[in-house]
Amino acid sequence: MAIDYLYSLITAIFVGGAAGYLGSLMITKRMALVGDALGHVALPGIGLALLWGFNVSYGAFIFLLLGILLIWLLEGRTDLPTESLVGVIFVLSLAIGFLVTPEHELLHALVGDISSVSLLDTIISAVLSIGVVAIIYSIYPKLIISSISEDLAVSNNIKIKKYNLIYLLAIAVIVALGIKVAGSLLIGALVITPAAASKKLSRNLFQYSWGALALGILSCVLGVALSAITGFAAGPLIIFASVIFFAISLFF
């Protein structure tokens, strides 16, 4: 029991930190709901994974890739804003997800089940989280410039589409890993809330991005601790903790 909690805690710390860090870009890019939508896009993958008994993160990741690819392709073919496309794909995924997910597993798919994390899962989560943060760290300035002025970015030879794709893939990895922590319904909140709190408290990008990472970690530690004490699922408690930080940030 104790060792299970330790695995859960370590996984949540790494994934939560990475989610917060990526979230700092999502807010400045005005994509605040994309993380939410992608969480839902993962649902059919989670459902199939539960149905056929393989790792939910892998199932989620495959469907996230499909979803991102589909949005990517459709974006060039219609004049509709990305948000509408994401919206359509998001409800389609939800519908499919509800149909394929075994009924008694549905709740875990939606709000996460961190107690099912193995040692191998923990190691994979930690390594991938560090990798994703390292990659995004290296292109962070380019992503910020692209988000404040496309013209400025292009005139400085920044390939906006390429970096946006890298960013979306990074989000896909973190959402897939985070599915176990917070579930498909709540993973979006783990991306957005720590970043929103950090934004309120920061005067520059350094404080903002690393602050978001720190608050992501703190939310997870607090959430998992509360879960250990109360016996409630960790996912909702983690989100609850992050919203508390957000509420506190509003007073500064």
Binding site: R30, S147, D151, V154, S155, R203, L205
Partner: protein, 231 residues
């Protein structure tokens, strides 16, 4: 001829069969100040975007090979709350402290405490200066400038043009400045391109800005406009 830093030939830009730029040709020489003048909706910003390579076009836009372009955008910062300090904004260009200070000095900012400020909260005049300084980093040979009047009061506007003239002298830059403000032409331009989808006039200001070309560019409004500014 080979002093040209930019050659534009038979440029056409259209959005959904709606022609925005119609068969435009012009050149920019080294150290030349070219003002692109035209009313709102004349395709000025579109032209700049084409020059930067941001949007597709037909025809030819040929920059001298290896030329470095600094760009000062009109619209900037969709989100005023972004926690980005001026210093971090400069460091995006991988600049050292000295170059940063030098660029700020060139735009008339001596108080370096601005580096610690959030870029969304400095005044629009200061932001304009910071953007010009950013454009100067990396020592470009050309500066593209989109409508510096936008969002700035007249007093600020005055100093921005003086500033540009000063920078131009100090650094031997070519500048392309886009504006709808006729008074800028006389203060600043070596040559002027009057744009209203097509080139209505092109050449040295004294030669081309006769009453007729201005009438064609602006319609009747221009007399009132000119009267207000005086000489």
């Amino acid at each position: 001829m080979n002093k040209n830093i930019l050659e534009v030939k038979n440029l056409n830009i259209a959005f959904n069969s709606n022609k925005v730029i119609d068969n435009l040709s012009f050149n920019l020489e080294e150290k030349e100040n070219l003002v692109i003048l035209g009313p709102n909706g004349a395709g000025k910003t579109i032209l700049l975007k084409a020059l930067l390579g941001v949007i597709p076009f037909e025809g030819e836009i040929k920059w001298k090979s290896g030329v470095k372009i600094g760009y000062v955008p009109q619209k900037f910062l969709p989100d005023k709350g972004i926690p980005l300090s001026v210093e971090e904004f400069f460091k995006f260009k991988k600049t050292g402290y000295e170059e940063m200070r030098e660029a700020l000095r060139a735009v008339g900012i001596k108080d370096l405490s601005i580096l610690k400020n959030k870029i969304g909260v400095i005044s629009s005049g200061q932001l304009q200066r910071v953007l010009i300084a950013w454009g100067l980093l990396g020592n470009p040979q050309v500066l593209l400038f989109d409508e510096p009047t936008a969002g700035i009061d007249i007093e600020g506007e005055e100093t921005i043009y003086n500033l540009l003239a000063k920078i131009e002298k100090e650094r031997d830059l070519a500048i392309i400045l886009v504006t709808h403000d006729l008074s800028v032409v006389y203060k600043f331009a070596d040559s002027v391109l009057c744009l209203n989808k097509k080139a209505v006039c092109y050449g040295a200001p004294q030669e081309v800005l006769g009453g007729d070309s201005l009438n064609r560019l602006y319609g009747g409004e221009i007399k009132l406009y000119k009267h207000n500014h005086g000489h």
